[in-house]
């Protein structure tokens, strides 16, 4: 009798593991300021999950989603990781940003599970800052900066550049690192000056005074910044009558901030896919339509896309590995070289779980209207020591 009871108890405990579903745990911000960035990417991830389930599932099983809220708080992020683990998660999707996603990703790493950042673009969000089973499907910030450098040099004849870095987050530093690495190596190109500001500076008048003190207006200004500081900086630069082409990273994608500088022209950024309905790849527009059908609105920025891509890549690796075991899936992911996705090819290696080069769409804002004007892939991947800031 005693044995039967223990056996029953053991069976009861083991029950969640025997479930017929594959469970993906989302430990993401469902409240707090980060929510605005996590929700679109998580929604995109769920669109891909729905597609996979509709097509018969993964390894013949349906994918189930469980969720926990990090409340945009680093300590809550670890708790959210434990929470989805308790709910039976076998793979974990964590917040967009390294700082807010890493505590949860470390919980997954401790279990030998795969974790994917929704859209982190800092090299730490992977092997370097979490562990061997952690990935991000977005494009590293230095690649965005380098893409801007090479494209502006080739297509807009940029020869002089001024670098204005917002010291708020690592992402900004990454953009500038990539630009600083690429631009001076290009023929006839030089960086004529640089300066820093803080995202929440009430005014960047001193920085603008320094740009105006240059002998000639620079061809391009590489602005390494994110909202809201980026919109504020653009408004103040244009108000001061500086008409240089302004370059930025993908983080400022979306038209929601354009009212800050009415009639803005000559502002360029690289994106993984266009939200404006003019991407040359039909898959991108198919996704935009699916997103609109699910949420009632088109994606507000490109940061929905990495969510879709991460599930796509992970599911492919799971199929190839024949299991959801972290190490086995990691091995399959690391074999991916220019693996096609709806948003361009993606590669991973045993050194880097990020994209150190990528085909990017170039979006330019003219008269306050954003439009895709070109695409560009940097001529060589950003080297590892540049990524690591050595």
């Amino acid at each position: 009798m005693k044995y039967t009871t223990s056996l029953l108890a053991l069976l009861a405990l083991a029950a969640p593991v025997q479930a017929e579903d594959i469970t993906i745990g989302f430990a993401i911000a469902k409240s707090g300021w980060m929510e605005a960035y996590d929700t679109p990417a998580a929604t995109a991830a769920k669109i891909r999950i729905d597609e996979i389930n509709a097509a018969g599932g993964l390894l013949g099983q349906q994918i189930k989603v469980v969720e926990a809220d990090t409340r945009t708080d680093r300590a809550e992020s670890a708790k959210a990781g434990l929470d989805v683990l308790d709910q039976g998660a076998q793979m974990m999707v964590v917040s967009c940003d390294y700082d807010f996603g890493a505590p949860a990703a470390l919980v997954a790493e401790g279990e030998g599970m795969n974790s994917f950042f929704l859209c982190a673009e800092d090299v730490k969000a992977g092997i370097q800052g979490v562990g061997p089973n952690s990935f991000s499907s977005s494009v590293l910030a230095p690649v965005q900066g380098a893409t801007m450098a090479e494209w502006a040099h080739a297509k807009r004849n940029a020869r002089t550049a001024y670098v204005l870095e917002d010291t708020f987050i690592e992402y900004n530093k990454g953009i500038c690192t990539g630009f600083d690495w690429m631009f001076p190596t290009l023929e006839g190109a030089s960086i004529v000056g640089s300066d820093t500001f803080k995202n929440d500076d009430a005014s960047i008048a001193s920085q603008i005074t320094r740009i105006k003190a240059l002998g000639a207006e620079p061809d391009v200004i590489m602005l390494c910044s994110v909202m809201p500081g980026a919109a504020a900086a653009v408004r103040q630069i244009r108000a001061a009558g500086i008409n240089s082409l302004i370059l930025n990273g993908s983080a400022v994608d979306g038209s929601y901030w354009l009212d800050a500088t009415p009639g803005l022209s000559g502002f360029v950024l690289p994106v993984q896919g266009s939200i404006h309905g003019d991407d040359p790849r039909p898959e991108v527009e198919t996704f935009n339509a699916a997103y609109e059908a699910k949420t009632g609105a088109r994606p507000a920025s490109q940061y929905a896309y990495p969510g879709y891509v991460l599930i796509d890549l992970w599911a492919k690796a799971v199929e190839r590995a024949g299991s959801v075991d972290g190490a086995a899936v990691t091995a399959e992911l690391e074999k991916m070289q220019d693996e096609p996705t709806a948003f361009g090819p993606r590669s991973f290696s045993a050194e880097l779980h990020h994209q150190n080069t990528a085909l990017m769409q170039i979006v330019e804002i003219t008269d306050g209207k954003p439009a895709r004007v070109d695409e560009w892939r940097i001529s060589q991947p950003v080297p590892m020591d540049v990524l690591l800031g050595k």
Partner: protein, 302 residues
Amino acid sequence: MSLQILFDALSLGGIYAIAALGIALIFGVMKLVNFAHGQFIACSVFALILPSADAVAVLGLGALPAGLLIPAILLFGAGLAVLAEAFVFRPLRNASPVALMVASFALGILLQNLLLVTYGGRPKAISLWPELGQPVRLLSAEIPLLQLFVIGAVGVILAGLALMLKRTRIGLEMRAAAEDFGMARLLGVRANRVISGAFALSGALAAVVALVLVAQTGVADVRMGGQIMLVAFIATVMGGMGSLPGAVAAGLALGAVSALLQAFLPPEARPFRDAFLYGLVILVLLFRPQGLFASASAKPRV
């Protein structure tokens, strides 16, 4: 070039001075460091747009002509502060200053989350008076019109406030309350009237900062106001807690020094501008722990 830097310094200092004044006014009458002041600024900014979590902001109050918009936003800021006083700080009137301070933090968090719920976490664009960005030539400098407006407005506000404090009954009562609140009450100063008055003024000053910030940056963000609040608080400490001229002088000085550091630090040191700035603040406080202009009540009596 140097004239340009002078204007940069004056306009940034002016914004900080107005924010510091808002904090010093309340500290003067009720020994409360109002950490929700930054959120008063943020709320006044968001009052310009219609509540909605959509990515694109639609102007609400912000669509009014300037002649109506400015009084409306000032009234909004003042009203918000008066409400905060009535519902949060009045019931705590006899609590310890620490309890009051914690309450102000709580109020700040409440207001910020209220903004998050109504407007979402994404920054919004507001194009308020873009024509103020036009640069004007003044001798050797090219100065955005807005900077001139800010410097002018700071001058007018300071003069107006000084007149009010010196010449009107409520001003006299406020100064008396700042000197010795208990004594002032014994002599017939009505506590509620003075404190509500100080809150209303402080809220209106927060609204002024909000308008300047929006005109300058063109964005609304739930986190905005936090940085200014911090600088303003440091300015009130440096100026001597409770001293109004002290807060103004220290606010101006902080803004000016910040602009000068940005202009003259070598590039490698520039990312650490604020470390230099606050290092200087520590130096000042080492030599004058009571602040530059300590109010009479801040000095211990022997």
